[in-house]
């Protein structure tokens, strides 16, 4: 019988989760080890974001359990199929996040707060992929960033390097 824990989001929603799933978060694992986690574990994360975090953790957990049960025979083929499945799942997961940027940044903050390095790295790559190859003006518009450079400063950075000779 798996041990269950109750997580409470910042808007007071309760999530019942298996210990193994939630122990991926170093922050929560520590809370459990310290014995601070009796009853509900209150988290500074909204229910919408927490649901996403748990979706990620469950997928990860699923993957590791299956790998443990495998014997070597046919493992390679299975791995390949699994890789495809995971890719597909990750694509769906990232497409949803791309459509809703607010959730994306909440999730980034949450993965940092809950200490989930794999999720954090995945999300960082996702943001980078969204921005890659775009002009500065496009990026600013995309994320509502204010251009705080004066034209002189911008010129100064451009001049920092440039070919000393004609390539």
């Amino acid at each position: 019988m798996a041990i269950m824990y109750a997580l409470k989001s910042s808007d007071n929603e309760i999530f019942e989760v298996e210990q193994k799933v939630i122990e991926q978060s170093e922050t929560i694992k520590k809370m459990i080890e310290d014995g601070a986690a009796t009853g509900e574990i209150p988290l500074q994360v909204s229910s919408k974001t927490l649901a996403k975090v748990l979706e990620w953790c469950k997928q990860r957990q699923h993957k590791t359990v299956e790998n443990e049960n495998d014997d070597n025979k046919g493992k390679r083929k299975k791995e390949r199929d699994e890789d495809d499945d995971i890719k597909e799942w990750e694509n769906k997961f990232s497409d949803e996040l791309k459509a809703d940027k607010d959730v994306l940044f909440d999730l980034l903050l949450a993965s940092n707060y809950l200490d989930l390095p794999a999720l954090l790295s995945f999300l960082c790559q996702l943001v980078a992929d969204m921005v890659a190859g775009k002009m500065p003006e496009e990026i600013r518009r995309m994320f509502n960033i204010e251009n705080d450079f004066t034209p002189e400063e911008e010129k100064a950075i451009t001049a920092e390097h440039g070919w000393a000779f004609q390539p």
Binding site: D102, D106, L109, N112, Y113, D115, S121, A132, G162, W163
Partner: protein
């Protein structure tokens, strides 16, 4: 407001030019790790994540991580112009070194083109498809990469085609460049050996050049005040010591391990000659094993270790790795035997005709050139997968005299004083 402006400019001044070494990097890492340990949760814990966050709400640590995922070219051309905060992060030495560590190296394929003379095409190897063939990335690589001789930490050494005695050190991503004075040997850089190295004890990047051992090894230190090549004696004290025929032997680019240890094969069946760039001292490293045909070997850098591919017979290649430079400790890692299956051909290539040219996929895939008749324009290549223990013939058509150079793009820059002084010296391509 003015203060803020000034401090920002000061920051830029301080961080514009710097040379980073593994030692400095470690120092910076420790600081970063400490900061993360101490402050990581503090940043977000103080604030409830309630939704509608934007990129400006992200703490520096997360933004830092996101920015390290970009290619150096993109960071230099676009990303650093977004806002001051991003620019400040990208310009920091800590960022430059972390970015360099995270980025994987790419393989540049430098193929000769017959006309015009000595012209070379550069293609970038992106990934292998089913281990048999390659996707060639056709993204434009600056044409000056055509004359690439060596690459390390994003800096490449190129040969000036017009002024044939001239060498330049260039970073293709941020367009940093330095022109080196002509070598004392007045070498025109055809049939000589060069490499970019890093001396971890002084944090200096050094260019080594070997034209003839009688003349000695020439070393140029980037950022040195006298801007002159230094000459140290060759590996042999007297001409009679040379294991090779001086008329026929040409020094090639050394196999450079971690930018610090240089290894040359000198046609000897007993030893190779090596140098630690930190103390600039020669030493002989004895070849492993006791067989008669020990001269039949190739040297390769596999993930920061010197590997020796010893062709025991036509059906066996032993792979040795140098574990300890000082103690000369070799260890045999594995053997490639001819029962390894081969695809795409009926017959196995004779192993003696295979030359290990480069390692791919974190050292799990070894690329061999299969020597064929002199009249073939293309060389044939085989790939050996270490995990699957399979030797496969590649379908790639690669011209003769093609060079493979591992290149990692970075935002590294060196001393400001090294900027081109003489405007008349231009590289024309």
């Amino acid at each position: 407001m003015e203060d803020e402006q000034n401090s920002w400019l000061d920051f830029r001044q301080e961080n514009m030019f710097q040379i980073l070494t593994p030692y400095e990097e470690r120092d910076i890492y420790d600081k970063l790790a400490e900061k993360q340990r101490g402050g990581k949760f503090h940043v977000t814990k103080s604030k409830t994540i309630v939704g509608k966050s934007s990129v400006t709400d992200l703490p520096d640590e997360i933004l830092f991580q996101i920015l390290t995922k970009f290619p150096a070219e993109d960071l230099h051309d676009n990303i650093r112009f977004v806002c001051k905060r991003w620019h400040k992060l990208i310009s920091s030495g800590c960022f430059i070194s972390q970015h360099m560590q995270q980025n994987k190296s790419q393989l540049l394929i430098v193929t000769p083109v017959l006309l015009p003379c000595e012209n070379r095409q550069v293609k970038q190897l992106e990934k292998h498809v089913k281990a048999l063939d390659f996707n060639l990335n056709t993204a434009p690589i600056p044409r000056m990469a055509q004359q690439i001789l060596s690459s390390f930490n994003g800096l490449i050494l190129i040969h000036d085609r017009e002024h044939r005695r001239q060498l330049h050190v260039v970073n293709l991503a941020n367009k940093f460049s330095v022109t080196l004075p002509s070598c004392p040997s007045a070498c025109e850089h055809v049939g000589c050996g060069t490499a970019i190295t890093l001396d971890p004890s002084t944090s200096e990047y050094k260019i080594v050049h070997m034209f003839a051992d009688g003349f000695g090894l020439e070393i140029f230190t980037l950022g040195c005040p006298d801007k002159a090549w230094k000459r140290i004696r060759g590996p042999f004290r007297v001409p009679e010591e040379r294991p090779f025929n001086v008329e026929k032997f040409r020094w090639e680019n050394p196999v450079c391990i971690n930018g610090q240890f240089l290894h040359w094969s000198v046609g000897s069946d007993e030893y190779i000659v090596s140098m630690n760039i930190s103390n600039e001292k020669w030493r002989r490293i004895h070849l492993p094993g006791n067989d008669r045909y020990r001269y039949r070997y190739d040297l390769l850098d596999i993930e920061g270790n010197l590997a020796l591919f010893y062709k025991v017979s036509n059906t066996q290649i032993d792979v040795w790795v140098l574990e300890d430079y000082e103690k000369q400790g070799w260890i045999q890692r594995y053997s490639i035997m001819s029962e390894s299956r081969i695809h795409g051909t009926r017959s196995l290539p004779e192993f003696r005709k295979l030359h290990a040219v480069t390692a791919l996929e974190d050292g799990h895939l070894i690329m061999f050139r299969h020597q064929r008749g002199k009249h073939d324009l293309n060389d044939c290549y085989c790939l050996y997968d270490i995990k699957q223990r399979e030797l496969k013939r590649s379908r790639m058509k690669i011209k003769r005299k093609t060079k493979f150079i591992h290149h990692k793009s970075s935002l590294l820059v060196c001393s400001r004083n090294e900027k081109l002084a003489d405007k008349d010296l231009k590289v024309t391509v």
